[in-house]
Amino acid sequence: MVNYILRRLGYAVIMIVLVSFVGFCIIKLPPGDFLTQKLEQLRARGDRSAESQIEALRAKYGLDRPFMVQYTTWAVNFLKGDFGESFQYERPVKDLLGERLTMTVVLALATLIITWVLAIPLGVYSAVRQYSLGDQIITTISFIGIGIPGFLLALIILFFAIVVLNQDVLGLFSKEYIDAPWSVGKVIDLLKHLWIPALISAVTGTGGLIRIMRGNLLETMGQPFVEAARARGLRNRDVIWKHAVRVAINPLIVILGSEALPGIIGGNALVSIVLNLPTIGPLFVDSLRRLDMYLAGTCIVFFTILLLVGNLLADLVLAWVDPRIRLE
C-alpha cells in the first residue's frame, strides 16, 4: 500500500516536470514575448528610453538567455517557492495567486457542495421513480444544464439580475465591502453575490452528475443482490441507500477526483470572466493572452498537481470504499 502510494507519487513528479516543460514550450511558441508587446506600447507613447528600459527588464527576467536556461532557472526557483514575477502586474506570482486563492477556494467549495448535494439525491430520486413526472422534470432540467454553456447562462442571469431585479451582482462583493475588513455585513454581502455562481454551477454542473447517478443506479437496481436484500426484509429505503446506492456511487468518486479537485482552482474561467469574479481562472486566461509566462506556467503546474493529487486521492478512496479494487 505504502509502496503503491510512493510509486504513484514518483510518477506524479515526472508528470509535473513534463507538463511544466511542455507548458513552458507552448507559452513560448508565439513569436515575441511579453516585452516585445510592452516595447510596442512604450514606443507608441513616444517613450524615448523605451529600448533601454526593455533591455534592462529583459536582463532582469532572463529573457535574453537561451530557452533551456530560462526554464531551468524558473523550475529551480519554483522548488524554492519562488514562482517568478508577473510581467503585466510587475508583482511576484505568489502574491497574485495568494490574494485570489481564498476566494477561489471558497467559491469552488461552495460550488462543489451545492453540485453534489443536489445531484446525488436528484439522481437517486430520478432512478427510483423512473419515468415518473418528477423524473421527467429532473431529466429535462439536467439536459438543459448539460446543453447550455455556463457563460451563456451567466449572461442571462446577469441580465435578469441587473435589468429586472436591479441588483449589483457583479463580482463577489459590493463596492463598499471590497476592501473592508470582514464583518457580518460583508459575509451577508458575499452571500448576496454568491448565489449567482452557485446557481450557474447548480444548473450546469449537476446535470451530468444526475444523469450518471441515475444511470448507474438503474443498472445496479437490476442486480440480483438488490432483490436479495429486499428478500431479507429490509425496508425499501435501506435497500436503495445501503445496497444499491452504496454500490452505484463508486464511479462518481473517480469524477470527484479527476474533475472536482482541479476545478477548485481552474474553476469555470469563462463564467468567472463574465461575472467578474476575483478567482484564479480569469487571471490564468489573461496571462496566456498576454504571454505572461511565469504566471501562466505556475498556474499550469498547480492545475497539474491538483489533477494528479485528485486522481491519487480518488483511487485511494475508491479502494477504501470498494473492496473489489483493494490495491495489492
Binding site: P224, E227, A228, A229, R246, V247, V321, D322, P323
Partner: protein, 357 residues
C-alpha cells in the same frame, strides 16, 4: 392433509406485466399448496411463471409486474402460543411492517445467481448480521414478577452475538474456516461458497419456509450435489418447508416430496414425486419426462416437445398447451379451458383427457 398443517396456499393467482407491447400474463390462475416442513418442487420451462410465483409469495413482484388477482394465504403460527392466524399476502403493503417481518424472517429466499446475489461491498458476515439484526430476537427472562405467568419479552441480538451466529451458520453450511471467511468479501469466495453464504443468510433467521429459486442452476454438478446435501441436512435439523424451483428434473426428483408442473403461468399437474415420474398424467409432463436424456441409449434422437412456447401476447384459446400437445382433441382442447381435477389419489392434472365434456 390437515388444515392446521398448511403453510402457504396460493389460490387462483394472477400476475400481469404491463409492458409497452401489451400485457403479459406471467402467472395466470396458479394454485399451489405448501405444508409445514414439506418440500414442494416447482418445475417448468423458462418463463412459465415459476420465479414470478415465488416473488408473489414474498410480495415483491418486480416492476412493471403486479398481482392482479387471486390470493396467497399465509398461515402464520405464533411461536409462543402456537396460535395460527391467516394473512393474505397479496393484500399487504409491499414495504409494510408485516411483509418485511415475513420476508427473511419467516420465509427465506435464495436465488439463481450466487455470483451477484451478495452486495459486493459487504462481507459475508455483514450480510448475516443485517438479516439477524432485523429478524432474530433473544428471549429475555423476567425476574421477580412471579404473579404474571411467563410473559416472554425479547430483545435484539447484539453485534457480538450476531457475529457468533454468522460464524456458526457458515460452519453449518460447510464453509471451511468460518471464523475467517466471515470477513471475506463476495469476490473472494467461489460460486459454490457464495451460494452457501446465501443459504447461511437465509437460514440464520430460522425461517419456516425457504424459497429456492434455481439455487444450483449456475453451479457445476459436483458443487450442485454439495449444495443440495447442505439444504437437505439443514431442512431436517430445523423442520423447514422448501419451495424448490428448478427446470432440472433430476434435481427435483432428489429433493422434493411433491412436484408441481407449471406451463404458461398455470399449474398443469401436481403429484407425489414417485407418481409423477412413474405415472405422469398430463401430456406436457409426459413430454417433459421423455425429453430427459437416458444413459445407455446412444444414437437415438432426444425426444423434444413439438412446437414453440406460445407468444405471450397471443395465448392459444382453450388449453394453452393444445398447439403442442400430441393428444390434441380437435374441437375440445382449442375451445374449453381445462380445470384442475384429482385424477388419482393425491394426483391432480388439468387436462381435458380426464374431464367429461
Amino acid at each position: 392433509m390437515e388444515d392446521g398443517n398448511k403453510f402457504i396456499e396460493v389460490r387462483d393467482l394472477h400476475v400481469e406485466f404491463d409492458v409497452r407491447a401489451g400485457i403479459i400474463k406471467a402467472v395466470d390462475g396458479m394454485w399451489l399448496e405448501i405444508n409445514r416442513g414439506q418440500t414442494v418442487g416447482v418445475i417448468g420451462e423458462s418463463g412459465c411463471g415459476k420465479s414470478v410465483t415465488a416473488r408473489a409469495i414474498m410480495n415483491m413482484v418486480p416492476k412493471p409486474g403486479k398481482i392482479s388477482g387471486g390470493e396467497i394465504l399465509y398461515h402464520r403460527k405464533n411461536k409462543d402460543t402456537g396460535e395460527v392466524t391467516t394473512i393474505d399476502i397479496t393484500k399487504l403493503d409491499p414495504d409494510g411492517e408485516v411483509i418485511r417481518q415475513i420476508r427473511g424472517g419467516e420465509i427465506g429466499m435464495i436465488f439463481q445467481e450466487p455470483m451477484s446475489s451478495l452486495t459486493p461491498v459487504y462481507t459475508a458476515g455483514t450480510h448475516i448480521y443485517e438479516a439477524v439484526s432485523l429478524h432474530r430476537l433473544v428471549p429475555v427472562k423476567k425476574v421477580g414478577d412471579q404473579m404474571v405467568e411467563t410473559i416472554m419479552t425479547y430483545r435484539k441480538v447484539t453485534k457480538q452475538e450476531a457475529r457468533e451466529i454468522a460464524i456458526d451458520m457458515l460452519r453449518r453450511v460447510g464453509i471451511p474456516k468460518p471464523d475467517q471467511r466471515v470477513d471475506s468479501y463476495p469476490h473472494q469466495l467461489s460460486g459454490g461458497q457464495r451460494q452457501r453464504v446465501m443459504i447461511a443468510i437465509a437460514l440464520s433467521c430460522e425461517p419456516e419456509m425457504l424459497i429456492a429459486d434455481e439455487p444450483t442452476t449456475a453451479l457445476d454438478v459436483s458443487i450442485e450435489a454439495q449444495i443440495l446435501d447442505v439444504m437437505r441436512e439443514l431442512q431436517h435439523s430445523v423442520n423447514m418447508a422448501i419451495m424448490f424451483i428448478t427446470h432440472n428434473l433430476g434435481v427435483i426428483a432428489e429433493m422434493a416430496e411433491e412436484i408441481v408442473v407449471m406451463y404458461m403461468g398455470k399449474q398443469v399437474e401436481r403429484a407425489k414425486v414417485v407418481d409423477l415420474f412413474y405415472d405422469p398424467k398430463h401430456p406436457y409432463t409426459q413430454a417433459l419426462l421423455r425429453s430427459i436424456p437416458k444413459i445407455g441409449k446412444r444414437g437415438e434422437r432426444l425426444a423434444t416437445i413439438e412446437g414453440m412456447v406460445p407468444d405471450p401476447f397471443h395465448l392459444p384459446t382453450g388449453c394453452v398447451f393444445h398447439p403442442r400437445c400430441p393428444m390434441f382433441m380437435p374441437g375440445k382442447c382449442d375451445r374449453i379451458v381445462p380445470t384442475n381435477k384429482e385424477v388419482a389419489s393425491n394426483h391432480w392434472a388439468s387436462c381435458l383427457l380426464y374431464e367429461e365434456v
